[in-house]
């Protein structure tokens, strides 16, 4: 298994940057940069390209709909050039709250938007003149002055393109067109709920699931003993109750949907009802140990090692680690321990 992490460009940038530089020294393979509420992703990725030598750098993720597909492709080609081939383009749909709420762009037809966006990006990567007459994008714009153009820079068809997707049809699209899948809220025991759709998509394009990098993330946190583990679980249950109950809107909550698909539909619905009724402690009380442990890498060193083996056996090829810790050195220490365990587990 390869190892990865995700950083958010927020707070103390020097510390975040130092984390990435040190993580590279520890042997981490990939660093994704989120497009957080406070910064875009390409700015810090350009910065990190200058400060690192070996680690792969990915957008994790760039939100489609916030820039034109050609602008996404230009950023990807540039970041690949600046990092000397170390860039991975991660794309996601985000959600209507952000896309319509902050960007004022319709969230309608996310599947078609993603499909067309990827098709246009591939044209640009391949050095073709961009000519795309789709439902959501028409390039060149009809009846305008514009003629099909290509970038004046060298093509680069090899930039890996990953999609962050959860719903069945989006997963199929991922299997069909992407080089990798960025998942969240993953339970290895329930991986087939996702893999069946990824596989269907891959096979429709004459490929197989093995052609995709399966990149799954989880918090990694080491407990010294059972007592500390109970404390950690207590905190995480509250956070998970918020994700299940407080995220999204009345009609859509991707986390709730994801947990429901993994077999916790009933409890996820109850957590949501309680949370929305303002009974947050009661909501957290319903979250089981298993719901936290199954989706994370939390536990004693032995527990985490065992879970990593389960992840590997489930078909995860890149494990994205979110190391716990109050300080930079604590987070790096957690990361270092996790990297050693991944090495032990092999893959």
């Amino acid at each position: 298994m390869r190892t990865a992490t995700t950083v958010e460009p927020a707070g103390n940038w020097r510390e975040t940057m130092e984390f990435v530089v040190e993580a590279e020294k520890l042997g981490l393979d990939v660093c994704f940069v989120a497009e957080a509420w406070g910064s875009d992703a390409p700015s810090p990725l350009g910065y990190l390209a200058a400060r690192t030598d070996r680690i792969l750098l990915g957008s994790g993720i760039i939100q489609v709909g916030t820039r034109t597909p050609v602008a996404v492709a230009m950023a990807a080609l540039t970041l690949s050039e600046l990092s000397e081939g170390r860039f991975i383009l991660g794309l996601g749909s985000s959600g209507p709250q952000i896309i319509e709420g902050l960007h004022g762009v319709p969230f309608s037809r996310p599947l078609a938007r993603m499909r067309e966006t990827v098709a246009i990006i591939r044209q640009v990567f391949n050095g073709e003149k961009v000519d795309h007459q789709g439902v959501l994008f028409r390039i060149p714009l009809p009846n305008g002055d514009g003629r099909p153009m290509r970038l004046t820079m060298p093509p680069n068809p090899d930039i890996p393109l990953y999609l962050a997707t959860l719903s069945p049809r989006m997963l199929q699209l991922t299997g069909e067109v992407a080089d990798g899948w960025l998942g969240t809220s993953f339970v290895p025991e329930g991986a087939e709920a996702y893999f069946q759709h990824l596989r269907t998509g891959a096979e429709s394009a004459g490929r197989s699931l093995a052609d995709l990098d399966i990149c799954q993330g989880a918090e990694v946190c080491f407990a010294r003993d059972e007592v500390e583990l109970r404390e950690i679980l207590g905190r995480r249950k509250k956070e998970l109750a918020f994700s299940l109950g407080g995220m999204g809107s009345a009609g859509t909550n991707f986390y709730n949907d994801a947990y429901s698909r993994q077999g916790w539909a009933e409890v996820a619905a109850e957590v949501r009802t309680l949370w929305l009724a303002g009974r947050r402690d009661a909501a957290a009380g319903l979250v089981t140990d298993e719901m936290v442990l199954a989706t994370t890498l939390i536990g004693t060193e032995e527990m985490v090692r065992a879970r990593l083996a389960v992840w590997r056996d489930a078909g995860v090829t890149t494990v994205r680690l979110y190391p716990a810790g109050e300080t930079l050195s604590e987070r790096l220490e957690t990361l270092g321990r996790a990297l050693s365990l991944v090495q032990v587990v092999g893959g």
Binding site: A10, Y47, A50, T68, L82, G104, V105, P106, P140, M149
Partner: protein, 372 residues
């Protein structure tokens, strides 16, 4: 140059412009396109040491400026960084704001957001986005950017960018949001590239910086004075003085003709070939500078495919006045003329075969500007 009582002179006087305006003009560099970005980065590091105050990175249909600026933020220490320019049509206003906040964040507060309309060929032809209402869009974008940077919930009823998206236009799930993270500065300087009268007026009203094109100091008052004055009349007193950022071609040489000949094709391309007849802003500008017949001829030749003839038809006087080409004394005079016309930042592309010569050029430019 500055006629007493003219609108432009009054404007400059009222704003404390003129020779006492700033202690020193700033020098910005925009690297020549070499295709080798890592070599360009080394150039900029040396220009920073040689006294350049700022570096601009363009974005047209090659590389993305934002990633390059992020890279430069990591390599440089002091030099200010600017996009020169980002087109307004290819990113949402909130993303432009997040991008500027991101670059300000990784550079420790050294970023200037240069914005411009770009042109219909690129925007419609390459991005598939209608090239419409550049002025109204620019005004809304600037308002949104500043709202985002102040960490207010973004709520706009603008015609072009209603935020959140009204329910009848989408899912209805959008709620007003604000940035979670604190930007380094709640006011990132915005520079607008503009040459049309109404666009220049808008720039003088709302922006921190103005980037005209083919700036001809002796004609600046006649061509832009009214627009600048009208914009300044509505300018928020909280805004700093308008930073006027020009980009003349620089060549300190005893053989100016050879250097002029290298500039001719570029001027011919813009005046002759950027946009169809009647839709070429640069052609209009050349006419307003007083080169009506010449502008028409250049366009006729260029559009007929006679690019070399079009280049040859570019008037020598125009080239001389918009550039910094000639012996050192002449260049010094032209810098003084620009300063008298209100220029506060001179952007140069140092062109020379070796890095050492390019750096030397920036050093000499620094001396000349400081002398003036």
């Amino acid at each position: 140059m500055l006629t007493n009582g003219s609108i432009y002179a009054t404007l400059l006087f009222n704003n404390g412009f003129g020779d006492q305006r700033r202690t020193a003009m700033r020098i910005a560099v925009v690297p020549g396109y070499s295709g080798d970005f890592l070599a360009t980065v080394q150039d900029i590091l040396d220009y920073e040491s040689a006294g350049a105050d700022m570096a601009f990175v363009p974005e047209v249909y090659t590389f993305d400026a934002v990633s390059q600026l992020g890279y430069l933020a990591a390599k440089t220490e002091r030099i200010e960084l600017g996009s020169g320019i980002l087109p307004i049509y290819t990113r949402t206003p909130s993303l432009l704001a997040m991008t500027a906040a991101g670059l300000d964040y990784v550079s420790g507060g050294r970023f200037t957001l240069g914005l411009g309309a770009s042109g219909p060929q690129v925007i419609e032809g390459f991005h598939g986005v209608p090239y419409d209402a550049p002025l109204a869009r620019t005004r809304e974008i600037v308002t949104i950017c500043r709202q985002v940077w102040r960490r207010e919930r973004v709520v706009q009823q603008g015609k072009h960018y209603p935020i959140p998206l009204p329910a009848d236009q989408g899912t209805g799930l959008g709620k007003p949001l604000k940035l979670i993270n604190h930007p380094v500065r709640d006011r990132i300087p915005i520079m607008i590239a503009s040459i049309g009268p109404r666009n220049v007026q808008l720039t003088a009203e709302i922006a921190e910086g103005w980037q005209p094109f083919f700036f001809l100091p002796e004609q600046a008052e006649q061509v832009w004075g009214e627009s600048l004055a009208a914009g300044h009349a509505r300018r928020d007193p909280e805004l700093p003085e308008l930073d006027i950022v020009v980009q003349p071609t620089l060549a300190i040489t005893d053989d100016p003709e050879a250097a002029y000949d290298r500039v001719r094709p570029t001027v011919a391309l813009y005046v002759g070939g950027m946009g169809a007849r009647g839709h070429n802003f640069y052609n209009d500008l050349a006419r307003r500078y007083g080169y009506e017949a010449e502008a028409e001829l250049i366009q006729d030749l260029y559009l007929a495919g006679k690019k070399a003839e079009a280049a040859a038809a570019v008037p020598h006087e125009l080239l001389e006045r918009i550039s910094l080409i000639g012996p050192e004394g002449h260049v010094r005079e032209r810098i003084a003329a620009m300063r008298s016309a209100g220029v506060s930042t001179i952007t140069i592309t140092p062109l020379a075969p070796t890095r050492a010569e390019r750096v030397k050029l920036v050093e000499r430019m620094r001396q000349l500007v400081d002398e003036v």
